[in-house]
């Protein structure tokens, strides 16, 4: 079990800045994010876009800002659980919480800070009947361990970079790789597309262009997928694994079930300290709502600072906090 003062759900810019503000007050942080990397929307949606409204940086790309933030919090040595979704929070008798992820990581914490942004980024799923019946029984939405597909028949769907990249990566591992795409060309990186076409010519990739996925079948475990071509003919392709790779889309997810006051997919907070209706749980950044809320990185940073001043009393109940400028003490690590 991981023990911490503050468990931060969401490692976007606001969750990362909360680590800095907490560190100044000698509170330790553990961050959990369902994405495999930190950075939230900035790293997932727009890493190369310049941002112009971060004080001190006339222009900085989204990924650069995240990298700088990581550097800024390094002295406070935060710990991370990445690639896991927080599912459950349970109150303990002494007021603290146990936080549990979908992969059964357990964190004991005095305070929970939800910096969950738009919610969990989850795979976009194609609308085909029975898809859910085969999840974990042949349908995977991401490739975690390529070795799993050794000597298997793999069907990948999608036309973006990750579909192309995995198709040619798995060629050497799987027994057969089929790539299904709705259009007749790929708009991913041109050299990736070229590689896939070459492998198709050599008969190493079974390419089904201008095909729409219509159904999947199996008896308990996946056996084949069905597609229709332009002529509306139905084509069946054997598949031990079907991997739809259509990118990610945000969903509020489990946060909606924790008894928090939710208003239009956002958590209502008190602007005094960004606390929620549940004691010791705070919500900062894009995930919260209050009159006049602006979904800006800058506003999330401000919320993180005020939140930490309030959270201190739960972490150090015997100490009184007096406000000092950061320059008075400097950046003192633990």
């Amino acid at each position: 079990m991981i023990n911490t003062d503050i468990c931060i759900i969401g490692a976007g810019p606001v969750g990362l800045f909360a680590v800095f503000e907490a560190g100044l007050l000698k509170m330790r942080c553990h961050l959990i994010d369902v994405l495999p990397q930190v950075g939230g929307q900035l790293s997932e949606i727009y890493p190369h876009k310049p941002i112009y409204d971060i004080p001190g940086y006339p222009s900085i790309t989204a990924q650069e800002l995240i990298d700088k933030q990581l550097e800024q919090i390094k002295p406070f040595d935060p710990t991370f659980t990445l690639g896991e979704r927080v599912e459950q929070i349970t109150r303990q008798d002494d007021g603290s919480f146990i936080v549990t992820t979908n992969e059964h990581t357990i964190v004991h914490t005095q305070v929970i800070v939800i910096a969950g942004g738009l919610g969990c980024f989850e795979p976009r799923k194609p609308e085909i009947p029975n898809l859910h019946l085969f999840e974990g029984k042949g349908v995977d939405y991401m490739v975690k361990d390529p070795a799993k597909y050794r000597d298997k028949k793999i069907v990948i769907a999608g036309g973006g970079d990750s579909a192309l990249d995995w198709a040619f990566h798995l060629v050497d591992i799987a027994q057969q790789v089929t790539l299904i795409h709705r259009s007749d060309s790929f708009r991913g990186a041109p050299d990736s597309a070229e590689k896939v076409f070459k492998l198709a010519q050599q008969g190493k990739i079974n390419l089904l262009l201008s095909h729409n996925l219509t159904n999947i079948h199996g008896n308990g475990y996946l056996s084949h997928v069905e597609t229709t071509n332009k002529e509306k003919e139905v084509i069946a392709t054997d598949a031990d694994y079907f991997i739809p790779l259509y990118g990610l889309t945000p969903k509020l997810g489990p946060i909606a079930d924790w008894g928090l006051n939710i208003d239009k997919n956002a958590i209502a907070v008190d602007t005094f300290d960004y606390s929620t209706n549940i004691e010791r749980i705070y919500a900062i950044g894009d995930i919260n709502t209050y009159p006049g809320k602006l979904k800006l990185i800058l506003c999330g940073y401000h919320e993180a600072a005020l939140m930490c001043q309030s959270a201190f009393k739960f972490v150090y109940p015997d100490q009184k906090l007096t406000f000092k400028y950061t320059t008075v003490n400097g950046i003192n690590t633990f």
């Binding site: 949606i45 727009y46 876009k49 976009r124 709705r182 708009r187 996925l213 945000p250 969903k251």
Partner: protein
Amino acid sequence: MDDNLINVTVIDRDGTENILEVPTDINLSLMEILKASEYEILATCGGMALCATCHVEVIEGLDLLASASDQELDMLDTLPDADDQSRLACQLYLQNCNNGMKIKIKGALQS
């Protein structure tokens, strides 16, 4: 009808059909107009062709729209339910010639 006001038929996710009066002289994208008309659209990226949550199917009048940019096509390619009639509403700025267009809202919602 006003010179700069056109009619667009909008079919919502539940199949309900309404005719929307769309001004063509106010430099708003179709996504912004749909949002202003209280249609539920996430538009996470605010109109930058980065999120695809403003996906619409153009049922009538597709050929009268300006063609999609590479970035719009890239984004549409990531959608499992896109087809030849798919566009991103945030990339569509309507003109008088688009009068009578018919669209269906398809973008994902949060839950």
